[in-house]
Symmetry: C3
Subunit: 209 residues, 3 copies
């Protein structure tokens, strides 16, 4: 079926982009190549793995189909090679990362709905799929998770997942639900980067406790 | 059944209190509202989620009943609003947190016993339920887990879980097991705060390795 | 069966050694005894637990047989007592740790193959079993995982797991597969420590993103 194939291609682009952000983050910490590969893998498949473990949905995608892991490992190592070029590719890279965020959020939501869970749970799982790869990456690099401070990253994931759920539950054709949610999420992220939109932050300091 | 309802109410107070400690910790790191909600949720349900994943006990509570998640998200956001008042509420807050610790430890132990696992495993799961929400909170905030250094936090959880297991396996009425364990855990924690009781620490420094 | 018993003894030595590295790491962070025990346990059984959760392989070993947990807790606390002697035991300790790494990698691989998963998945799970206890230890201690920077730690795990898989799939007798992989992994690690072999590191610094 054609729709499924488009999603698969987008998802594949997404995991490759995520693996590359992982490898670059590892490079910033001066890790060795083993660390680069582990952080690349954890970033690319961490969100989806956490979702499936929380849903008890076995076997995990990469356990069933290990070829994805090989692609992620190759992408992580290739990132080391092309790192000097990243300076020129920065905009392309941010674009692919934005696409990955939208795709992961939609796919996480879709999968959870197909497994028969309720729409609110599907939204939560969409967000976990979309953002937790990055959270795990930052924990492995001993950094405060970037997405808890970055322009509209998490919110984009929430909006994308909600949009997909609303369209699906109101009987919209799958193609349209998918296309509209992806377009909305991707545009919102790109606009947020362009205009530095961000969510209010919460500053709290206390001596008690 | 009345006993179950009392436990449910106490558990609910516990997750709200934990969500608030999570939101405050996020505020200390100057996270945005998305980060506040994620850390609030992870603190409130992280311990129980880890326990159920380790036991293979699906579906997870919040996957089956997503209304709890809504309550936790609201509590996290409300914490941002009432943060300026936290200064005056500090003692109330520590009291609720102590209650939450005792309740989580007892409920984690009880659930594991009811699933048919052995008493020692039930104690371990009680402690995981009691303290790992806080551990996950501190990891997400890139801090050394507080409970590994704080006055009698983990020990309170161990004592509470052991007390419940001993009373249950010696055929005490459920009401009494529950009440005595909760009272013991809560009192011990309050006394530890009041008198600054703590566990010996282990200092180790070495150049080797 | 004698082969299984040898593996069990080696595995037991491995978890004790890992518990001790966890306890020492906790001591470097000046944790209290509760923290020492938690970090010791997480280091000793974290890798195997993560593997079994990812494979959906329940019940977990320590849930089924809680006596292992008691041994790990005792080993963690004993480490506090004998810490002043660690200075003299450093070489013995590194040797046992190297043995543990090789044993964990082989056992993780072997178990995954026996559960019917493919050889590449078995290698990944061998590496997770071998190194993720240490990764979890370092996250709990709020440190950048040591193994992402240390001499040949992860690579030893990969080589050991690959060696075992190749020997097993080419019909070598179990005894020989086991012995050769263990010997290879152990020797490689000891040589890497002796001659300071290491994997190239990846340095990346960027202002973009």
């Amino acid at each position: 079926m054609q729709e499924t194939q488009v999603v698969l291609v987008l998802w594949f682009i997404g995991i490759i982009a995520e693996a590359m952000t992982g490898a670059l983050a590892a490079g910033k910490q001066k890790m060795d190549l083993f660390g680069v590969v582990i952080v690349g893998c954890a970033t690319a498949i961490g969100g989806g793995t956490l979702r499936d473990i929380m849903l008890g949905n076995y076997p995990l995608i990469w356990v069933e189909n290990w070829h994805y892991l090989v692609a992620i490992i190759v992408a992580s190592l290739l990132t080391v090679v092309i790192a000097p070029l990243m300076h020129y590719l920065a905009k392309l890279f941010l674009t692919i990362d934005a696409l990955g965020l939208a795709v992961f959020s939609v796919i996480g939501t879709q999968k959870t709905l197909l497994l028969g869970f309720s729409p609110p749970v599907a939204i939560v799982m969409g967000v976990i799929t979309g953002v937790f790869g990055g959270v795990i990456r930052d924990i492995l690099c001993n950094q405060m998770p970037l997405i808890f401070r970055k322009e509209l990253y998490g919110i984009v994931s929430i909006v994308t997942a909600c949009c997909y759920v609303i369209l699906q539950t109101t009987g919209t054709a799958p193609w349209i639900s998918l296309g509209v949610s992806l377009f909305l999420g991707f545009s919102l992220r790109m606009l947020a980067i362009r205009f530095c939109w961000s969510v209010p932050t919460f500053h709290y300091s206390a001596d008690e406790k």
